[in-house]
């Protein structure tokens, strides 16, 4: 066999997929032809290079998006079944809408925003009463800085909108800055599709505890204490020091005569960042989302704006490195548990035990999803800082 005859076989040769006769002839040829032997070497290196590509991780948003798309599908199996058996109530992917919505809501909670939201009663008064809460617009209006922008802020070229936690942040309202209260969602907007399927559907049968509906308290809890760091560390002493993962936030409460108008004005001046306005009735909350590296600058800017009202931001810095590490650890543990159980179930002959194992597996997967979402959210919180201004109606000094 000559080189031309051998070359087309070399790929199969390195995969040991040649038939006996072919293999013999190729081997014979390779012993005396160093060109083809080199070709085999090059092919092996090529294969190794391709195989060295890392496995990529499935994005955390993948499952939720898939759920949404599946929910949008009319379930064909169920449909066929309904036709065949005349059953009225069939399981469908619509029931998945709840975990997806819960996950989306959770995203917001973990990012450290929910703590700043005024209590629901304050945010959303019954429609009929809202007028009574709105303060008189004429009080102290002359103390409010006028419209012309300070010189150092007027040359803003590119308003940047940073999506936070996967959901698009409400852009600042237009010139004039009146808060369109009917359109402003309370405290963050979960992915629209996730909630679209309706919260009235029954909860999914994911198991009794349903982790999706009860997210672990990774997000900040309580008032003013910031992120609650779980104090679980089994093997202290052995762990190398973690690189700091600061999560920055800053907040201030401002009392002005007309919160809506002031919020609009502020939002416009800070529009190079992503600003979201929440609130109804009297109090308006401004959330300003800033990339972590711009945080200091943003604080200085906001402080200079607030100086006119006589307020300052209180800056908080929380290190979430240990939380990240713990979440990562839990993910690893859960993955190991899942793989072990999966492997065991592959060989499980007993149907009862298989059933039982499947239930267990579903629980582990659910926990894993939750932890992964946690992790993403923590990363997100590290990368994006938030400045929260609570603008309350009241007499100005």
């Amino acid at each position: 066999m000559n080189c031309d005859g051998v070359r087309p076989l070399l790929s199969a040769y390195i995969d040991q997929e040649l038939s006996g006769g072919e293999l013999l002839r190729v081997e014979q040829h390779l012993r005396r032809c160093h060109w083809c032997a080199a070709e085999v070497d090059a092919l092996r290196q090529t294969v190794a290079l391709v195989a060295s590509l890392d496995e990529v991780e499935v994005p955390a948003t993948f499952r939720a998006q898939l759920h949404e798309r599946l929910v949008a599908q009319d379930p064909p199996i169920a449909r066929a079944r309904r036709a065949a058996q005349g059953r009225s109530r069939v399981p469908s992917f619509r029931r998945w809408a709840i975990p997806a919505a819960a996950a989306a809501a959770f995203v917001i909670g973990v990012a450290g925003l929910s703590r700043f939201a005024p209590p629901a009663a304050q945010v959303e008064p019954p429609p009929g009463e809202s007028v009574a809460v709105v303060p008189e617009p004429h009080v102290g209006m002359d103390e409010v800085p006028g419209q012309p922008l300070p010189p150092d802020t007027s040359d803003i070229a590119e308003p940047a909108h940073h999506p936070v936690n996967g959901s698009e942040v409400q852009p600042p309202s237009g010139p004039g800055g009146k808060v369109d209260q009917s359109d402003v969602p309370p405290t963050g907007q979960p992915e629209p599709g996730a909630v679209a399927a309706g919260p009235t559907d029954p909860p999914p049968a994911f198991g009794d505890e349903g982790p999706a509906t009860e997210p672990p308290p990774v997000g900040p809890t309580g008032s003013g204490t910031g992120v609650t760091t779980a104090s679980v560390s089994q093997e202290t002493g052995e762990q190398p020091p973690l690189p700091p993962q600061p999560q920055f936030s800053a907040m201030a409460e401002v009392t002005v005569a007309d919160p809506a108008a002031e919020a609009g004005r502020l939002a416009e001046r800070l529009s190079e960042w992503s600003v979201q306005q929440n609130g109804r009735g009297g109090t308006v909350e401004l959330q300003i989302f800033v990339p972590a590296e711009d945080f200091r600058e943003a604080v200085a800017r906001v402080d200079s704006e607030l100086a006119a009202y006589g307020f300052r931001l209180a800056v908080q810095e929380k290190d979430v490195a240990s939380q990240l590490a713990e979440t990562e650890e839990r993910i690893t543990e859960l993955e190991a548990a899942r793989d072990a159980l999966s492997a065991r179930l592959e060989g499980e002959a007993d149907q009862d035990r298989l059933e039982e194992g499947l239930q267990e597996l579903a629980k582990i997967r659910q926990q894993l999803d939750t932890e992964r979402t946690n992790y993403e959210n923590l990363r997100e919180a590290v990368e994006n800082s938030v400045i929260v201004l609570t603008i309350k109606p009241g007499p100005t000094e």
């Binding site: 087309p8 290079l49 990529v56 898939l66 179930l345 597996l361």
Partner: protein
């Protein structure tokens, strides 16, 4: 008598048990996603295609007769979804990679999982991976699919033939040509060790 995990889940999913289908997704999403990612070269398309594949699988689950394993059946759907998309794309002449290396603040995106490397090695690694991925994307779809299934998913020739409805000879020759073309590409990028000397090829170049 006993059934495999997938078989049991498929059976239940066919009866309308969405949780069972969810578990099937869990079982296979990583492979499905990785196939899609390597065939398209970016996360956005990979997500789209992988989701599309699961949706197609869900809507045609009733047609799955169990002649092959569920995995083989599913991966065939993935490949078809990819091919559809790639052909559509080819008509529109859009192909792009994730701009992972250019991201700010040293974040090198999801392509780098190996944090044990120092930053320089990590970057080198990213660049190498990028070069390899880009080379793969330059192959024609038919060759790319075979290559990805073999090299990245470790399929046997028979399994590839089954999944893609090709005969064994076609699988062999496509793989051979795909590797040949990649080898040339890698050599031109100086990614192969220099000790390798290859006789210049006669006849027409390895263009796919």
């Amino acid at each position: 008598m006993s059934k495999s995990l997938d078989e049991l889940l498929v059976e239940r999913a066919k009866r309308g048990d969405v949780e069972a289908f969810e578990q099937l997704i869990s079982q296979h999403e990583k492979t499905v996603y990785n196939i899609a990612y390597r065939l398209t070269g970016n996360h956005e398309d990979a997500s789209d295609i992988a989701q599309e594949a699961f949706i197609r699988a869900y809507s045609s689950l009733a047609d799955f007769r169990g002649d092959s394993s569920f995995a083989t059946w599913l991966y065939r759907i993935v490949n078809n979804a990819c091919l559809d998309e790639l052909r559509r794309r080819k008509r529109q002449k859009v192909t792009y990679l994730d701009q992972s290396v250019e991201m700010e603040d040293g974040e090198v995106s999801r392509q780098v999982a190996d944090t044990a490397d120092g930053p320089e090695q990590a970057l080198e690694r990213v660049e190498l991976q990028r070069a390899v991925q880009e080379s793969i994307l330059q192959l024609d779809e038919e060759y790319r699919v075979v290559l990805v299934m073999r090299e990245l998913q470790g399929y046997s020739y028979n399994e590839i033939a089954e999944a893609l409805h090709l005969n064994l000879g076609t699988v062999k020759s496509r793989l051979n040509r795909a590797r040949g073309a990649l080898k040339e590409k890698f050599m031109s990028l100086e990614l192969l060790s220099s000790s390798v000397v290859c006789r210049p090829r006669r006849g027409k170049a390895h263009e796919l």
